[in-house]
């Protein structure tokens, strides 16, 4: 039953090369958004509704840049619709 409550959008942010200060800033900003979760040793994920994820992602990226990040890899995935499961 649960998938009907699947997060609409997930954004994964990875700072390259890994840098503790900017990773920590990104994690803090993601946490403050109320949507953030850790998704890997150097990866932060923001999951939730489309608009709130996009807003939270902006502030998280800004926090990482302010902390000195040079390259941030972002992967965004829309997961709310059924066709992802079973699309042939």
């Amino acid at each position: 039953m649960p998938v009907y409550e699947r997060a609409e959008l997930s954004a994964e942010l990875k700072i390259i090369p890994p840098q503790e200060e900017s990773s920590e800033a990104a994690r803090r900003a993601a946490g403050e958004s109320g949507l953030g979760r850790e998704a890997g040793p150097e990866t932060t994920m923001i999951s939730g509704g489309r608009r709130e994820v996009l807003e939270a992602m902006t502030s998280t990226i800004e926090a990482a840049l302010d902390a000195g990040a040079k390259t941030i890899e972002v992967k965004i995935e829309a997961e709310g619709d059924a066709p992802r499961f079973g699309e042939e």
């Binding site: 993601a30 998704a39 890997g40 932060t44 999951s47 079973g86």
Partner: protein, 745 residues
Amino acid sequence: MARPDGVPKVKGEFEYSSDLHVDGMLWGATLRSPHPHASIRSIDTSEAETMAGVFAVLTHEDVPGRKVYGMEVPDQPVLAWKKIRYEGEAVALVAADHPETARRAMKKISVDYEVLEPVTDAEAAMAEDAPNLHLSGNLLRRVDVRHGDPRATADVVVTGEYEVGMQDQAFLGPESGLAVPDGEGGVDLYISTQWLHVDRDQVAESLDLSPEMVRLTLSGVGGAFGGREDLSMQIHACMLALHASRPVKMVYDREESFYGHVHRHPAKMRYEHGANTDGKLIYVRANLIFDGGAYASSSNAVCLNAATFACGPYDVPNARIESLMLYTNNPPCGAMRGFGAVQVCFAHEAQMDQLASALGMDPVELRIRNAIEPGMTFPFGQEVPYPAPVREILDRVKAMPLPEENETMGRDLRELPGGVSNATHGEGVKRGVGYAVGFKNIGFSAGFDDYSTARVSLSVEDSGPLVRVHTAAVEVGQGLVMVQAQIARTELGVENVIVETADTRIGSAGSTSASRQSYVTGGAVKQACEAVRERIFERVHEEFGEEVDEFSISGENIVVDGRVIAPLVELLGEGNIEETVEFHHRATYPLDEDGQGDVHLQYAFAAHRAVVEVDVELGLVRVVEVATAQDVGKVINPLALEGQIEGGIAQGLGLALMEEIRITDAKIQNASFTDYLIPTILDMPPVRMEILELADPESPYGLKGVGEPPTIASTPAIVAALRDATGKKLTRIPVRPEHIAGLEA
């Protein structure tokens, strides 16, 4: 008709996924954290890697793709890094030539933990000084339902606090699967699960493979009840197989199984009901707090369900419901039969009994007076669809004759609480009767595009006409394979039907959960058969110029009104007619900020009456009988229906009286079937049932899902009967002997 898996299962010949074997396969094993909350300082696998017979030792560094998974929110590590959030969390994997070699290799893996204080319950997780278990804190989900006047007042008010323990699905076949690398970078996984496609997509994501390179085939499933809806070893087995380039089999033992799947959410619920002196409900207020454990799994949906079903199947003009889901360091909780509805039904039904007592009313009469009816509005803003026979099912259980009450002294011990353990010979035994009614949504809700895919082909073989049905719908023991065959026979009139093994070669069927498969996959098979019939009509018209609206297949011929139109073989030759369809049910919508919306598809209702006998001195219980009335829309298979109802009641009885994962300091104390008790045939009473067939105008054949409703109200009915016998409040389930005997509150 006999179910195809019935005889092999009874004879012990059915092949479950734990029986899978392929020559040259390795055995996978999982190293798990002994601590519920810890930081990982380091993991050293070097010694294990050098052991003879060890082919792979893997940690989070070896996860090639996404390092987390999750059905709703990807928050659970495939293998832990840095943090441990529950006891039993997977840390490392081993593949070896023998299970014992794998076990020894795991002992050689050195993990340096910094042990942390665990967050042990949901209320502790809300404390200001509680450590944040995830970046965003410990509140996973909040759903509010606001309906009517929030300040409504009433003549009669009753309040109560209720608690539900952590129940386990306790399926008999432990988690197991076999991953076989295809030599081209892909993998085939043979697995017992509830939803092949959602497994496949999560596995592919973490393996960094395209979905086509991960193929899943259903193996024999030994029960599920929601516990197989989330991943267990799916990604692990595939990682090991791809790494070792050998097939890898994983089988959990019973203890590991308790750590390897999610459980039913424990809940604490505070309720206030207000009514006028006539017994008409004025308002319901409730604060629901659920312990989601360490990871999200299906907690969001449970939180939503609990909020929408919190008032019960009653006409409640004013409601204020607050449903909260918290992260803790307890085992992750997720889907289990009736989820969300089970917990709140225990509370709202106890409240209705308390209200009846305060009003001096008969408890069934109070329920009937407030029963919801088609055309009314649920507190969450959806119009109650037809049929909603709450009043009728309550009338029916009330009217059923009560079991005979024999003198307790001198009775056969097997008919007394405690049985042959020589606990009572009849002294101190009191009888009680209790009633409850519950309801739940069927199918996926809240805007999800819920569908199933079916492929049906018709051909003529040497043995005559043959229909093949192919879906990805999972048979977990409920009888779906039989139902699919029945539908194909009914629609096409062909006796010989093969239901092919479910796999990911065809589109998704959705999950075998939410009591939805007869509706959704049944609907898909029906539509695919209709599409095949349509093609036959066209061919009859093309080949023979016959305009027919209706035909049947009789023997090997197409027949209209007893007249043979054509031999089927002439129409089909050596070919076949094949159609694939997707069946989608009508749209649903998410709740708005006030918890209002057309959120659910279909509702199923069941009422229960329990009769118990209690040894009030020792707190031992014998359930004498459970009577039930349930609306099923249309009976598709009477025997399977009976099985679902009896099985659901057994699981409800388990929650009422014995089934609980006992947790101390976030550690499971009873991870075995010696210590986690489930009802046996000696505990299970006779079930008296009446079935209503009020067709749902929107569903295939008018049917309703039947799997979950028997579990929902059976528990509160049994506890109500215990209260009737003992006079005690009994606000926590499972009720233990010490609660009845008054040794513990």
